[in-house]
Amino acid sequence: MLYILETALRLGLFYAPIPLALFLSYRILNIADLTTDGSFVLGMAVSVSIAALGHPFLGMLLGMAAGALAGSVTALLQTRGGVPSILAGIITNTGLYTVNLAVMGFSSNKSLLKQETVFSLLKKLIPGEHYEILIGLFLIALLCLFLRFFLSTRLGLSLRATGDNIAMIRSSSVDPDRMILIGLCISNSFTALAGALVAQMQRSADINAGSGIVTVGLACLIIGETLLGKRSLTRNILAAVTGSLFYRLLYALILKTRVVPVECLRLLTAVIVAAAIVIPYLQEQAAVRRRREC
């Protein structure tokens, strides 16, 4: 049981940058960013490839930078190229498949054998066996603090207003295109960071590891918001992390107890996300129908 909790905590932390990224793109900017799947694998591929050359830390940083680059492609496609935002993400994602293969030397997976990883190096500095969890905690705390600080700066305010009322932001002399570019760069660098972390932890990157990760991330976000509510910015940010931890706990418990066959987990995730969006909408519709009947 303790082992399950530990695994859930570790994975929950390492995957937490994804719901944080989606909080930024989906909740704040109001853009469903489908680049997510591809930038997760991009983060993995870059991180493992650079670590294989003997630079695990550089791999993390370059992984994030590559994610930001992928985000900027999606942002520019929609702001400068007139591509609808969902399609822009799909196009980038499709292109990233080839890019990711190329980064891994045109192989569908790449493993680290005896090379050092961020974890194997830090293990020497951090006593005890929970070093992975400590690293995860530290990194996620850093990301949360950054997001909280950033979103209350003037740049962050402009970003939030872009998703809230784009007409108003234009008349406040802010270029909304630039805000979308900045937002998607940050969110995709977060997603890539999750990929980079997970890849070095499991010592491998796989071209298919990202499939459906955007839905999982949204499920985490929605679960967290249900648990914590979304009354303030701080709460919203903590909700994304809490959701990630809770989702991985659920995942681990299902793996262990097999109440639901593991193969069905994706379907369950999809149902959670769809239901979380559909139910409030149906409630609204039902209220209108009741009023009509009166």
Partner: protein, 265 residues
Amino acid sequence: MLKCEGLKISFDKGTAHEKTVLQDLSFELQEGDFVTVIGENGSGKSTLLNCLSGTYLTDSGKILLDNEDVTLLPEYKRARKIGRLFQDPLRGTAPHLTVAENLALAYLRAAGHFHPFSRISAKDRQFFAERLKALDMGLETRLDDKVGQLSGGQRQAMTLLMATLVPPKLLLLDEHTAALDPQAEEKVSDLTRKIVEEHHITCLMVTHDMQRALDTGNRTFMMAGGKIIFELNEEEKKTLSVQDLLVRFREASGRNLASDRILLG
């Protein structure tokens, strides 16, 4: 101050529905002019404001603001010099941000001397509270409330404050009191007059209330068919009645004013 030469714009170009909304429109405003704009639905009043603010780019013609050619400048860049209010009080504020956060954004217009990573300081908040107090709507105690919780009148008053927090070169008002209840309408109209006079802002105000159009400002444009068909100066505004305006309209256009939405006062 503002000079428009031969503005022309049409929509649905190249289709059977092509409609020319502004035709060869020219006028000039002096510093401090407060112009009220009246006309029937579809006469091009709102389109004129949209062209001035940069929401639409004109097909031809020239717009000079403060001796700078802004004809092709994107909306967000013009916003540094142009403030704007719409009929819909929800359009000018971000509902999920607080009163203070909205004002901080409006303050960005003050040009780029803000560091992008700077935050709202205690001094900013004090300044916002002072300015909100001048609105006399009790908003100074609600700095941390989400704007979505305010009434339409409060939101429109806030939008007015945001548009003039840093006095713009040109203020565009597009029937900005039309969607408010009578009490709020009165209040926001008074505030508008007060703020415009205090900061000596050059202003174009579209209204469908003919009496208000005569009572407000120092010039009045009557628009029809995408043109200014006649203009009233300060003297004429003082002496003319709404009935006289209708006679002038018939003389200039050869038909009666369609008064479906226009208030004859």
